[in-house]
């Protein structure tokens, strides 16, 4: 027997997903996270799972781990004590950033906390110009002085970021070697290794975050691996990264910055895998939990990638899934502002004190309270009935805080809360679709997270989306995504070159070098030749612009024909994103990118098609009145998810309850269960 285990540590819950590799059966577990030492909840969960299913530790053949340690470390400014070394005249770049202030109108908003205090940002005399030529040689003596000071400072990590090092890394390399020789145990990283791309501030920020995370993540992984060992599990764990794949712990230790946005990425990777299995290639993921809502767009079964995200206000330019996050979740707080307008979020009551109805001391009305008043949520079946819920308290809170000031009845107030939080989330979906040149109506909404399926019905209808897909365990979907992710690694090189025939050798030389690095990495990770894949991209722009678009590059040597093809791809991309292109304006390649993929989950039956078939007709196990906009309270059948089997079909209105989520089916919506036990909800729109 062998099993794959996924563990996703979230702010409120630690989720587990376990798959029997042969049978394909899936088990899930949710236990409260232990914030002080996350490994505590992890150990408890593993022991529980092993015991419950009588699994021997050595039968665990794969362990995937998603963690927010890196994210939280940056957001809470708890990175290791770090020193920055940069070119003379530029130490304040880290603080000046792009010179924009944090809030346009709020005098009291602050810049993100400094990653490195000013007296730990050291300068060294040296200069490379924009053509990669040394115009001032590296001053070795100054580095020796810096090293002398370092000894006394208690610094654990050093980030080295010199101007134009992406063109000429030698100066950074010498700096790093000199420091390493004296401080073999310090975490030292250089910008040309972390992110060999131009634009100095973003590179500096990314490199510095990588350095400050280094010691923290190394300690975390060390402790995690040791604890796992005590359970008897023998496999080496993998860690999720922001681009949706997984990393070996060795890579994660050197490049911890790549895990900074890993939290929601496994869910997207899981959705990609699930959808490809059932032939869906274009979809938008909608992951709504207690505090936040993460949305992302997947086109041709490839998630859109972004390199423009910030964490805790600091830019991180490693490739990551383009996930747009807003403060909208079950715990989001509803309030009335000075102008008398109802607002929802971004503040959240979280799990503690939580919604009013939890009775844990929460006094502010939340989205969950509104869902209870509208009877969309069943107070008797919260977390499978484990949690006591006081709907009456929710009702009174909405009456007092929302409905009475707005001079409307309580139901209308609760409905308003849902409408507004839905509008906020619709706006987020527009950001990842319309603003990227896609029409949401051409996409399927894949809905998960504890609160997702409760809201996705209305959101999909409002956006004109035809279908919603809800996986078998929406509340544990991210942990499940950990089981099927592949390893991947991105290699980049900035080199500005026009797309004219005369530069063909440049293109081939640079991609060959990137491929050499990729093969080296694949070898190190022991990826077998038949499990390897390589994808190439170019970030391109019109000459004179300072904004690039990624374009796919076909495999094989680049010749005249493929260069023409690439250029035309750029025109297409430009047309798609910006609505126009200029065919006779010179085009420039800026950043060469290569992604190496190692398929670790190949040939594994991770979710067998269900063979369960129904012998008697589907019947609801209960009925209740549920509120629907423009309809009022309607009597609805209530199903348990376990009751549903493939090919079941029912029409809205209706409710499906399961231990990790609640699914709301609107009037005029149809639900069917597919062979993978996903629920597919179909909207019918009049006139088409």
């Amino acid at each position: 027997m062998s099993y794959r285990l996924g563990i996703d540590v979230g702010g409120t819950f630690t989720d587990f997903a376990l798959i029997d590799e042969k049978k394909g059966t899936l088990e899930a577990l949710k236990i409260p996270s232990t914030a002080l030492d996350p490994s505590e909840a992890i150990l408890t969960g593993i022991k529980k799972l092993l015991k419950r299913f009588a699994i021997k530790p050595h039968e665990i053949s794969y362990l995937g781990h998603g963690t927010t340690v890196a994210t939280n470390t940056v957001i809470e400014n708890k990175g290791a004590k770090t020193e920055l070394i940069t070119t003379k005249g530029f130490r304040d770049l880290l603080e000046i950033a792009r010179q924009k202030r944090p809030s346009l109108y709020d005098y009291f908003a602050d810049k993100p906390p400094e990653l490195v205090p000013r007296n730990f940002r050291k300068e060294v005399t040296e200069r490379i110009n924009a053509r990669g030529e040394v115009i001032t040689p590296l001053n070795i003596q100054e580095i020796q002085t810096i090293i002398k000071d370092l000894k006394k400072s208690g610094v654990e990590a050093v980030a080295i970021c010199l101007l134009h090092s992406y063109l000429y890394p030698e100066h950074e390399r010498v700096c790093a070697e000199m420091i390493r020789a004296v401080f073999p145990h310090a975490f030292i990283c250089t910008s040309h290794e972390v992110l060999p791309e131009f634009r100095e501030y973003e590179r500096m920020s990314t490199t510095t975050i990588n350095a400050s995370l280094g010691p923290v993540i190394n300690r975390y992984i060390q402790r995690f691996a040791e604890k796992i060992k005590t359970t008897g599990i023998r496999v080496k764990p993998y860690i999720t990264q922001s681009s949706g794949g997984i990393l070996s712990t060795e890579t994660a230790r050197n490049l911890p910055v790549r895990t900074v946005f890993s939290g929601p990425s496994a869910g997207v990777a899981g959705a990609c895998d699930m959808c490809s299995k059932i032939g869906i290639n274009n979809f938008i993921t909608f992951d709504m939990g207690g505090t936040s809502c993460d949305v992302s767009l997947v086109n041709n079964n490839k998630p859109l990638l972004s390199t423009e995200k910030t964490v805790g206000g600091h830019p991180v330019k490693t490739p990551m899934i383009d996930i747009h996050t807003i403060g909208a979740g079950g715990g989001s707080i509803a309030w009335i502002d000075e102008g008398g307008m109802l607002k929802v979020g971004p503040r959240s009551a979280g799990a503690s004190p939580g919604p009013v109805a939890y009775g844990l001391g929460g006094t502010e009305v939340t989205v969950t309270d509104a869902n209870l008043v509208l009877q969309r949520l069943n107070p008797q079946y919260f977390l499978g009935g484990d949690m006591k819920i006081d709907s009456r308290a929710a009702y009174h809170a909405i009456a007092e805080k929302i409905s009475s000031p707005l001079k409307m009845n309580v139901i209308k107030g609760a409905e308003g809360i849902i409408k507004i939080v839905n509008a906020n989330m619709e706006r987020a979906i527009r950001v990842v679709s319309v603003e990227r040149g896609f029409d949401p109506r051409d996409f399927i909404l894949v809905s998960f997270g504890g609160a997702g399926p409760l809201h996705s019905g209305e959101i999909s209808r409002n956006l004109g989306m035809k279908k919603v897909l809800i996986p078998r365990t929406p509340g544990n979907f991210t942990a499940w995504g950990l089981l099927i992710a592949d390893m991947n690694m991105d290699f980049v090189h900035t080199h500005l070159v026009n797309t004219s025939d005369s530069h063909l050798t440049d293109f081939n030389r640079i991609f060959a070098e990137l491929e050499r690095q990729a093969v080296h990495w694949l070898d190190n990770e022991n990826i077998q030749p038949d499990a390897r894949e390589i994808f190439r991209f170019l970030d391109m722009r019109y000459v004179g612009q300072n904004y690039e678009l990624p374009v796919n590059v076909p495999s094989g040597a680049i010749d005249k024909a493929s260069l023409k093809y690439i250029t035309e791809e750029f025109f297409h991309a430009h047309e798609l994103h910006y609505g126009y292109c200029i065919a006779d304006h010179p085009v420039q390649a800026v950043t060469f990118r290569l992604r190496a993929v190692g398929q670790v989950s190949k040939n594994i039956h991770h979710q067998a098609s269900s063979r369960r078939r129904r012998s008697s007709p589907l019947e609801p196990f209960d009925e209740r009145k549920v509120f629907f906009s423009e309809r009022g309270f309607l009597q609805c059948p209530v199903f348990h998810r376990e009751m549903l089997i493939p090919r079941d079909h029912f029409s809205g209105p209706g409710v499906v309850e399961q231990f990790d989520s609640t699914i709301l089916l609107l009037p005029e919506q149809e639900a069917t269960v597919d062979d993978e036990e996903n629920i597919v909800i179909t909207n019918t729109f009049s006139g088409g």
Binding site: R91, D92, L163, K419, V434, E435, Y578, E630
Partner: protein, 599 residues
């Protein structure tokens, strides 16, 4: 197996709901408001992406907005507060010139003239599209972009020493550039022919047109979903909402009259300082802002036309009273603005306006100074109230002698705040553009940036310290460069509050530390730099808040160790004594010294 839960026992009474059709409720307004704001944002994103020139794309010097059919601003994507000025009056002006029955679906209007309506200075070009729903004019969508060159005497169009608007570039009164979907090539050609880089202008215009199209599509969707009547009622209600929010804030200010005068260094032509006087009168929830007493309009290019003044006042009021007031036309109804004609804050044609940002910044500062008396906890000390803009133009010998124009506006120190230090190296108030990355700049232009840093000791001392100014040094690598600039706060420093000290002044210099060193004027044009010249821009630091001797000695020590304050400030200004290692505060000696001072 399944247990029946008794859902009939609902813990509260179900209230049946009567749906109110065509009766606008706050929830629908919020949802439609959200959709409109998201539309403006989507337009802004389109503009940044579809524009060609780095000034729009990289520095985000652009904005987008929606208007109701009377021309009131309904929603603005907030990039640059001052742009609201251009947007405020432009649609109303179009409606004056072109009666609604002459406006047709598919039309697009263009404008940039501060006097004819549609701009606050010439490089900001506004593009407006009427929105029709089922054949009826229902709203407008528009955007504004700062074109890095619009012709004129000096490339860039913002030289501080221009003496009339005719020197500053091509003037475009509101006119139809697209007629029923058909681009008027002749008009476009006429405009771009007047610019130094016609090709870039043409592509930027295309981006601006595409941006409005995005807005129109989305407006159609909103109307389809909610119906035209609900849409129109929501627009009205959003304006009232803006007014209510503002009045709610004004009501909290003690009634009274609060005055303040601040000064601009000079106008770039004469050497006289220029007063900006503001008197704020609060009565209940009415707010009056009176600029009587401000200097006469000046010869140099720092005059502020009415629309720019309104945008500036709105910024300062919103930021001080309640940053969440929506930037829409509703606030007009709650603020009365008095600006005597012929003054620097309401000049007569053809006064030059290209460098009006410096004056707008000073107006904000003056408003804050006046509010300080009523709302000492809600304002900051004097900030880097200047725009410090520099323009380099020439030919790039490394790129086939292609012509280039490099524009940069530098941030500086923000004034200290009631409970916090001011931010360092930021743009304040009505501008908020980002810098150009050094590695990009050096790749594109024959220039080398030798330093980009905060200036030690530039923040004004205080219980809370002013933010630090910026030093940016640029070496000329090509044979020759033409330089123009506008800046201020180079003679009269940002003020401190409640005992806080002044921030350091800014300065432009050439080849400092060499025998050829020259201090350059803050407002200039057509200066020629030659190969290897080093231009150094230093921007002002913010003023301090509160008495420096009340500053936490540990913060003084930190500032000293981090090199943010100068060594002699520690004892002389802050009255803090360090122990001999200079790494710790001598608490006893400090307490004694401070006590003696107060005793």
């Amino acid at each position: 197996m399944m247990r029946k839960t008794s859902s009939s026992q609902i813990p509260f009474q179900v209230v049946e709901v009567h749906l109110q059709k065509n009766n606008i409720d706050p929830i629908t307004v919020e949802v439609i408001g959200n959709a409109l704001f998201s539309t403006a944002e989507a337009m802004g994103a389109t503009l940044v992406k579809s524009a060609f020139s780095p000034n729009i794309k990289e520095r985000h010097d652009c904005s987008s907005a929606l208007f109701d059919k009377r021309g009131e601003t309904i929603a603005q994507a907030e990039h640059i507060p001052l742009h609201l000025g251009s947007l405020l009056g432009v649609v109303k002006k179009i409606l004056q010139l072109y009666p609604p029955e002459e406006i047709r679906e598919g039309d697009v209007f263009v404008a940039n003239d501060p006097y004819a309506g549609g701009g606050t200075h010439l490089p900001d070009i506004t593009v407006i599209s009427p929105f029709f729903y089922k054949g009826k004019l229902a709203a407008f969508a528009g955007n504004i972009a700062h074109h890095s060159d619009i012709g004129g005497r000096v490339a860039g169009g913002i030289a501080g020493d221009s003496r009339s608007i005719f020197e500053e570039g091509i003037r475009i009164p509101p006119l139809r550039i697209v007629e029923k979907g058909q681009l008027r090539e002749d008009v476009l050609k006429m405009i771009v022919l007047n610019c130094h880089m016609p090709e870039q202008r043409q592509i930027d215009f295309q981006g601006q047109f595409a941006t409005n199209k995005v807005g129109l599509c989305r407006l159609t969707e909103i109307c389809e979903r909610y119906g035209l009547q609900t849409f129109l009622s929501s627009l009205d209600e959003l304006l009232y909402y803006g007014e209510r929010k503002l009045r709610a804030g004004v009501k909290k200010i003690p009634d009274g009259e609060y005055s303040f005068t601040d000064y601009l260094d000079d106008d770039g032509v004469s050497r006289e300082r220029i007063p900006i006087t503001v008197t704020i009168r609060v009565r209940g929830d009415d707010l009056e802002i009176d600029f009587s007493g401000s200097g006469s309009q000046v010869e140099g290019a720092i005059n502020v036309v009415e629309s720019a003044l309104f945008a500036t006042v709105f910024y300062a009021v919103k930021a001080t009273i309640d940053p969440t007031i929506p930037p829409n036309g509703g606030f007009h109804r709650a603020i009365k603005i008095i600006a005597p004609p012929g003054t620097i804050v309401n000049p007569r044609e053809p006064a030059a306006v290209g460098a009006r940002t410096d004056t707008c910044q000073r107006i904000c500062g003056a408003i804050l100074g006046a509010f300080a008396k009523a709302l000492p906890e809600k304002i900051t000390a004097g900030s880097n109230d200047a725009s410090t803009a520099v323009v380099f133009s020439g030919k790039n010998h490394l790129q086939e002698n292609r012509r280039y124009v490099y524009v940069e506006a530098l941030g500086g120190g923000m004034g200290a705040r009631p409970h916090k230090d001011g931010l360092s190296g930021v743009q304040v108030h009505i501008t908020n553009t980002s810098n150009l990355p050094v590695e990009f700049l050096e790749t594109e232009y024959p220039l080398l940036v030798e330093c980009y840093e905060l200036i030690d000791g530039s923040g004004g001392a205080g219980r809370f310290r002013g933010g630090m100014g910026i030093r940016r040094s640029i070496r000329v690598l090509g044979e020759e460069v033409e330089f123009s600039s506008h800046g201020d706060r180079q003679k009269i420093p940002p003020w401190g509050l409640f005992g806080g000290k002044e921030g350091r002044c800014g300065r432009f210099s050439l080849n400092p530390g060499t025998p050829d060193m020259k201090i350059l004027p803050s407002k200039s044009s057509g200066l020629k730099f030659v190969k290897n010249d080093l231009f150094v821009a230093e921007t002002p630091g913010g003023g301090g808040y509160g008495d420096p001797t009340e500053r936490d000695p540990q913060l003084v020590l930190r500032d000293y160790l981090e090199g943010r304050i100068l060594e002699d400030e520690v004892e002389a200004t802050y009255k803090v004594i360090l122990d001999p290692s200079k790494k710790k505060v001598d608490a006893e000696a400090t307490a004694l010294k401070r006590k003696r001072l107060n005793g």
